[in-house]
Structure formats: C-alpha cells, structure tokens
Symmetry: C2
Subunit: 305 residues, 2 copies
Amino acid sequence: MRDNVINLKVVLADGEVMKTASRARKSAAGYDLTRLLIGSEGTLGVITEITLRLQKLPQSSVVAMCNFPTIKDAADVAIDTMHSGIQVSRVELLDEVQIRAINLANDKKLPEIPTLMFEFVGTEAYAREQTQIVQKIASEHNGSDFVFAEDPEEKKELWKIRKEALWACFAMKPKFEAMITDVCVPLSHLAELISRSKQELDGSPLTCTVIAHAGDGNFHVVVLFDPTKEEQRREAERLNHFMVHIALSMEGTCTGEHGVGTGKMKYLEKELGIENLRTMKRIKDALDPNNIMNPGKLIPPHICF
Amino acid sequence: MRDNVINLKVVLADGEVMKTASRARKSAAGYDLTRLLIGSEGTLGVITEITLRLQKLPQSSVVAMCNFPTIKDAADVAIDTMHSGIQVSRVELLDEVQIRAINLANDKKLPEIPTLMFEFVGTEAYAREQTQIVQKIASEHNGSDFVFAEDPEEKKELWKIRKEALWACFAMKPKFEAMITDVCVPLSHLAELISRSKQELDGSPLTCTVIAHAGDGNFHVVVLFDPTKEEQRREAERLNHFMVHIALSMEGTCTGEHGVGTGKMKYLEKELGIENLRTMKRIKDALDPNNIMNPGKLIPPHICF
C-alpha cells in the first residue's frame, strides 16, 4: 500500500499544515517526508489527506487454491514462486486450523489442510501462463491440483472469506479474545520461520491459526484465549514473544504491517539497535517538542540522547 | 532504484553507526529511516552499507524502437502504454536532436526523428504479447513499425548507447558544457510538458536534447553552451528555469532524480511550501546540530523555525 502513496497533507504539532511532496511519481526534491509520516503511528502529525496512485484494473485475473500435506511444503511453494520471477499478485498461506475456522464461519467444506490461495493477473494469456508455471512448482512440492474460482462472484467470495479470516476464528471460540502477531522475515527464511512457529503453536493448549502473506515473508498468527483466564493470556503472550524472537534471529522484523503501538516497543532495540531508536527520538522531539502527538507510542520511554 | 533498498548502515553526525531497518521486505517497526536517508544528499549522515533486494533476471526480453513524426505523438504513446496497465520494463523517449548526437558519436544511422525505446520482459510469450499491444498503441499515434534488437549483443549495445546519451551530446559540441535538468510531472501532464518545453528549446539559439524516462513522467534536458560566453550560460539557465516552472505549474517536481544540491534550492519553497522546508530543517538540526554533514546543501539557508 505505502508504495501507492504519492503525497500526504499533515497537520503538524504546531498547528501548521504541511504537504509532504508534489504529485509527481518520483522526486528527488528534499527528504522523503511522505515515507517518514507513513507508519509513524500519529506520533509526528495528523494525516488529513492522502494522494494515491491509481492502478489500472487488470484485463484478467485467475484465482486458484492448492492444498499441501505439510505447511512447509506450502511455504516452499510460495518461496519458489517468488524466486521464479513470476509477479504473482497475491499468494496467501493458511494453515489447517484457519481453514477449519473458515469452514465453520462460512459453512464451507474446504479441505482442512495447509492451503495456498493465489491470484494471477495480467492479460488473459499471461494470467493463464503464470498459473501453469506455479501449478508445476506446486506439484513438485506435493501440492494438489489447483481448484479455480471461475466467475467474478466466486472470486469475490473467496477473497471476502480470506479478508474475514480473523472474524472466522471467533466462530471456533465465540467468547475468546485474539492475540494477533505479525512478523516478517527475509523470504529465504520464511519456510523455517513457519515450521518452527507451527511446531510451537501446535504444542500449545491454545487454539492458534496461521495466515501468511507469503510473497512478502509476512506471517500472521491469531492466538485465541479466554480473557477471564490469566494463564491463557500469559500463554498467548509467550507464543507472541516466541515468534518475534525467532523472526529477529532471522534478521526479520517484529511487525511487518501492524505497527508497534505499545505492545512491541520492547522488541525495537533488539531489532534496530539503540542508535536507530535515538534517531527516531531526536526526530520525534524536533517535530513534536511538547509530545502531544500520540504520546507514549512507538518510541520506548527509556530512550534518550 | 530506491524501492530495491532494504536497509542502510549510516554513520551519524555524532560518529555513531546506525542500521536503518531489519532485512525483512516490509516492516512497520518504527519510522522509515531508510527512506529518510535515501535522497538526503549526505546532509543527515554518511551511508556506508546498502542492502539491496535482488531481482530475478527475466526469462525473456524484447527491445524495440519506434519513430514518430512529432514528439507529442511519442509522449502520447508512452502515456497510453502506462495507462494500458502493461508493466513495461523501460520506455525511453529521445528527441531528434538526441538521436542526431547518438548517430554522430556512435557512427549510427538511426532515423533522426522522435523515438521511443522499449524493453518488455517476462516469459517469452508475455514479452511478445506486450510488444504486440504496444505496437498497436504506437500505430494509433502515427508510429513506425517497431524495429527490434534481436540478439543479446545488439540489445546490450542499444542500451549502452542510451546510457551514454549525455556523452554523445558532446560529439556535437566538443568544447561545450552541459546544463542538465530533470523535472518530473504526473503522467497525465507529460505530453503537454514535453510539447511546451520542446517549443521553447527549439526557439533557443543553444543546442538542446531531450531524453525522458517517459513511463515515470520524468523528463531530462541537456542544454549545451559555450562556457566562455556568459550570455550562453544565462540562456541555459533561463531554459532550466522555464522547464522547472512549467513542471511546478503542473504539480510536478523540480527534480525527479538528480537532487537539489545548491542549484535547485530556490525552487523548493514553491514546490513544497514553507512548512515542508521547516520540517526538513527541524530534522536536519536534530540529527546534525553542528551542521557538519554536507553543509549548505538541499535546505535553503533562509529557512528557520
């Protein structure tokens, strides 16, 4: 998403309004304040306008699903697909628990084993060609034949189900809360990250589901716990902590998409180093000297310079 | 290029070494210091290491050239190609003067009229399909039939010629200097920008050549002038000024790639507004309080807060 942001209008801490950039697609005119503001979690200013780059709708799209005996097979296919140079539009990995949740919530009968969902876009011929290339990669890793969503309504429904995957989890445990974590690692480490995490998750008494934006090396886990039971909350936190630490040991990040807030502050020093945090703090103090912009978020309180 | 930068190692003004990010492809962990540093022209720190994302070499590439009676036709084809949703790998626009320079410097006989150079990549079938789609767009705008570079050596030579286009200009005027400007506008304004600029350039007594990375709306002009003649230097500056002001009137930027340095400082306030410049200055002062990092560059000296 952030690659499609051309510029922002931002209200700064002193009440002044700033435009971050021109409307040109690329610019070397000054610091990239657009990117500095994106993901700053409201700590540097309030974004009031966003100019986005529009994308042409593709002429054709193919949506396909494929099942695997193990989650490692599925992850390997996602990695090999990305390494093949195919510009796959989406590749989503769901584990068997997530598929069970989806079946329950949507009254579906999808096979409850690790699954990849693909979208290939482009001209009709190219979307078909990509599909064939990836089908071949999948079959080399014990993948099933592809199942296709054919008509537009069917495709839309499939992505709707995917988008609502989190809510589907609550169909399994209606009164539970969800601890959601998203880590991201270099693509070459994704299969190992997923395998090691999955082993830990399967060994836990809690119900955990896995969804990965596998093409990015981005890995989400939903851990369901009973909020009235302190030991369950602690177990959810332990699992979160476990996955963040594996990701960091693989030169990954504690959060690929969700942000830091207060929950992941404690991991930043390990991930980025103290000099990075000091630099962030310097910028924060310079742009918001009275600390009125979402105070207490993102930058750990002990950082000083 | 900047989209392929994963992280940087940077020596800061206080002598400490900072890593800007993890090695993950995407991250929401803190401010995007990688992007803040890219294009900061050495004013915030000294970059000592760059981690880049590798791209798979495409299975196939097609390189094609096409000529047009007017430069507006060529620009319209570049715009329509981008709007068609084709992910063209490169589309470069060269005016007749630039082609003349290339012919002179490389002993070639390319037709000396406005020209587009394309590169289409992907699978063999897809590269061919893209070529056909764009050939159709070109023929709707009075384009010639495509001329293809067939074997790898021929392709390499063609891009080498393109890369060395600036040096080719000096074949026309060996003892002259070049004033080079690069502006960038929203794609929808590119044809108008090029038409208006070309009219002004053709009316000038100086020799001027045009090269555009047309897919980005990025437009380069080389103005050759005799450095011993003050009125020629002034005329070159006038042309530069003229083009920057047209670009800014189209919500574009005074520099798409080359940067600000000292020469384009004077345009930043018009392009970005005073609040943007004050924010840059705040960041600069916070990270480099003694102003030892490439002092005097990028941020206009009159900016204060």
